[in-house]
């Protein structure tokens, strides 16, 4: 069967569509009412050499440490150190599966570079988008490994620096054009950090052109720091009571930002004043679309077994229209809210139900187009990706384009060894389960 797309991304005018299946990026180009394949990249990095390197280094360290202790025989002669070849450890039976994700695709602000992070070597990968290359528009220009697993990426307003937030809570800024840095923490200290898993990162600019870095974490925090003077924290936006998973910076306002996560609200903030403007409660809207997927894990469940847990995966916006679109992880429904740009208040505008669960959401800002990828596990014949465009003030499916796109995708993936998998080989598509805190440690 075909593996669903974990992540989708459209460029600003909707002419390019990037999709991630496991450790592969596929690129499609718009051609009238259809899309054609125009590029691909597979993360085929073999981790064993990296592990080998680490193991050898650790062995070296231990040997020097032992040498310092000077092992001696009873007669007082020094014992030569045994020099075994370092072995690369192999996972045993029952070890958790290793996933070679590519996660969090993004585009530079000028749309000329594609950014992504890989799980295999915890690297950021940066591609030039070369539209003149007919065979493959993706040209890898840099692969920068990081010490901890990257979780979110963005670029500075001028596109010069790549800003990356990792699961350990550190944020790094690195000039994109510079050479790869080999040992990050010694040469390049983090520019900011939380003592918590970072979940999203973004940049805003005020009316005077000063830049700010927004970072969100699993401990309900949204932090706003000056940039590049990230050592000056401007403020925190307080109000979330569960982890924050996404922060969204709309282009139709210079003061509004939106955020959501494990709470039953979409939050709208005036980031400049540091005030919470509105909380939109979507719990009634989502209720009938929740399934067994949303029951709390066994050990946190109550006797009736009716504790439900859900969270918003992503919020996206369009350039000129004051709408926001979001979906709740592992549901089949997409919501559109209308935003009052002056007051920041949110109201229900539209909902669209699909045959399958939504995995990922993106928007083409300038083209008023949305894109979703769907979990086709129960429904092999269904579309993997759907494009929606605005007609009047409602989003509708682009029927023709979607059926053309479906054909293109099927032929592109048909003989692709990465995308054709057994049911039990599908990567985890819904990841926020582990983000919720259950206060397990008492002391």
């Amino acid at each position: 069967m075909l593996h669903p797309f974990q992540s989708v991304l459209l460029n600003r005018d909707g002419s390019l569509l990037f999709c991630v299946v496991k450790n592969e990026i596929k690129a499609f180009k718009r051609d009238g009412n259809a899309y054609v394949t125009c590029g691909e990249w597979v993360d085929d990095l073999d981790k064993t050499s990296l592990i080998q390197e680490k193991v050898v280094m650790e062995q070296k360290r231990q040997l020097t440490e032992n040498a310092a202790k000077k092992l001696k025989t009873n007669d007082g002669e020094s014992v030569p150190q045994p020099k075994k070849k370092a072995k690369v450890p192999k996972p045993g039976v029952g070890a958790p599966p290793v996933y070679q994700y590519i996660r969090n695709l993004g585009l530079s602000r000028n749309g000329k570079m594609l950014l992504g992070c890989t799980d295999s070597d915890k690297a950021a990968v940066i591609f030039d988008i070369d539209l003149d290359n007919d065979k493959n528009i993706l040209k890898l220009i840099k692969r920068q490994p990081y010490p901890k697993r990257p979780n979110a990426i963005t670029t500075s307003i001028d596109d010069k620096d790549l800003i990356l937030a990792d699961k350990f809570g550190d944020i790094y800024a690195m000039p994109i054009q510079n050479d790869v840095v080999s040992s990050i923490n010694e040469e390049q200290a983090p520019i900011s950090g939380h003592v918590s898993m970072l979940t999203d990162v973004n940049m805003v600019k005020d009316s005077e052109g000063k830049q700010y870095l927004i970072s969100t974490d699993r401990d309900e925090h949204i932090r706003i720091s000056h940039y590049p003077q990230t050592f000056i924290v401007d403020k925190w936006l307080f109000g979330h009571e569960e982890f924050v998973s996404t922060v969204c910076v709309p282009e139709w306002s210079d003061k509004l930002i939106l955020s959501a996560g494990g709470d039953k609200y979409i939050f709208s903030w005036n980031w400049k004043a540091g005030t919470l403007l509105f909380k939109f409660d979507y719990s009634d809207l989502i209720e009938k679309f929740l399934t067994d997927d949303h029951l709390a894990p066994g050990r946190f469940q109550n006797e009736q077994g009716n504790i439900i847990e859900y969270s918003v995966s992503k919020i996206v916006t369009l350039k000129n229209l004051p709408y926001i679109t979001f979906f709740v992880e592992a549901t089949k429904i997409l919501f559109v809210l209308k935003v009052d740009v002056d007051t920041g208040s949110l109201s229900f505008h539209q909902s669209l139900e699909f045959q399958d669960k939504i995995v990922s959401l993106a928007s083409a800002q300038d083209a008023n187009t949305l894109c979703i990828s769907l979990d086709n596990r129960e429904n092999q014949e269904a579309d993997l990706i759907k494009l929606l465009s605005l007609e009047g003030d409602k989003f509708v499916e682009q029927m023709d384009t979607n059926s053309n796109l479906a054909k293109t995708i099927r032929s592109a993936l048909e003989s692709d060894p990465v995308a054709n998998v057994e049911l039990d080989e599908i990567y985890p598509l819904y990841n926020s389960l582990s983000m919720r805190k259950h206060g397990e440690h008492f002391s």
């Binding site: 950090g193 000063k210 401990d219 050592f231 000056i232 924290v233 307080f238």
Partner: protein
């Protein structure tokens, strides 16, 4: 009775006291009801010295500083008409341990509110019991009304408790050294956390550090000196400051190091003004 059950009975009794007296304004009327309280005995509250600051503890913390109800902690400072606290906390002892520093700071700064934060439950309980006993035993002169303790993880949630520029002094006394290199992020002073401390400190506010581990001392000095918002204060300044001498001799760790004739390394830093934003 075995040691264990004796410990349990002792702790249960103390817990009852704590529940009853924790948030009460202790004055003559309360005193008639309870006899003079004995100070808690440390041996019943032992807990291992380390706590993982990254794990999800069962913690209580306010959604924001505005949600924090301080009046429960400092009932003596409530304005009886407005039902509000007359002042806010301006001195914080992060990782206050058994509370020795606060107990000496209390009479030295009678008009300041002082808060200790400690991540270990048993140790926090000890400090609470100690403060209840001290307040009860010094009712006449209203002693120890300006100190209290909270169980919390300051590395994660400090900005949930304090507003921007609220604090005048922050103490880090004998923090966990986290010797292993891979544990260095768990240290209480890191360049990324210093930005948070700079946020809650007002301009001219002071960070006090003391440790008996030279390696950690050098680490803290390097990171604080490397941070654009902090500047080290001179030894001359240290010798004039009353907090420095309290810090050297008042804390439990300080006394222990003194008994063992160990070294104590002190470093103090002033919070600089915010530079021009570029």
């Amino acid at each position: 009775m075995t040691i264990n059950t004796r410990r349990q009975t002792y702790l249960a009794e103390k817990q009852d006291h704590r529940k009853e007296l924790k948030h009460v304004k202790i004055d003559e009327s309360v005193i008639e009801k309870v006899d003079k309280l004995s100070l808690p005995q440390k041996r019943f509250y032992r807990q291992r010295a380390h706590s993982n600051p990254f794990s999800d503890h069962q913690l209580d913390y306010p959604i924001s500083p505005d949600h924090m109800d301080w009046s429960k902690l400092y009932p003596h400072f409530i304005d009886s008409e407005k039902k509000e606290l007359t002042k806010e906390v301006t001195i914080a002892d992060i990782g206050c341990g058994y509370g020795g520093l606060m107990i000496d700071l209390s009479p030295a700064f009678p008009d300041k509110l002082i808060l200790g934060m400690e991540i270990r439950v048993q140790v926090t309980n000890y400090v609470e019991d100690r403060i209840i006993a001290l307040r009860t035993n010094h009712t006449k002169e209203n002693g120890y009304q300006n100190i209290n303790v909270l169980r919390g993880n300051a590395m994660k949630f400090l900005p949930n408790f304090f507003h921007k520029a609220q604090l005048e002094k922050i103490f880090f006394c004998f923090p966990d050294p986290h010797f292993k290199q891979r544990k260095h992020k768990a240290r209480i002073v890191t360049s990324t956390l210093l930005s948070e401390y700079a946020y809650v400190l007002k301009e001219g506010g002071i960070i006090y550090t003391i440790t008996d581990v030279l390696d950690l001392h050098n680490w803290m000095v390097t990171h604080l000196e490397g941070h654009p918002l902090f500047e080290r204060l001179s030894e001359d300044w240290e010798s004039q400051d009353k907090c420095v001498s309290i810090m050297r001799y008042a804390t439990e760790e300080g006394k222990k190091v003194e008994r063992n004739k160990g070294d104590k390394y002190v470093a103090c830093f002033v919070r600089l003004p915010i530079p021009e934003i570029i």
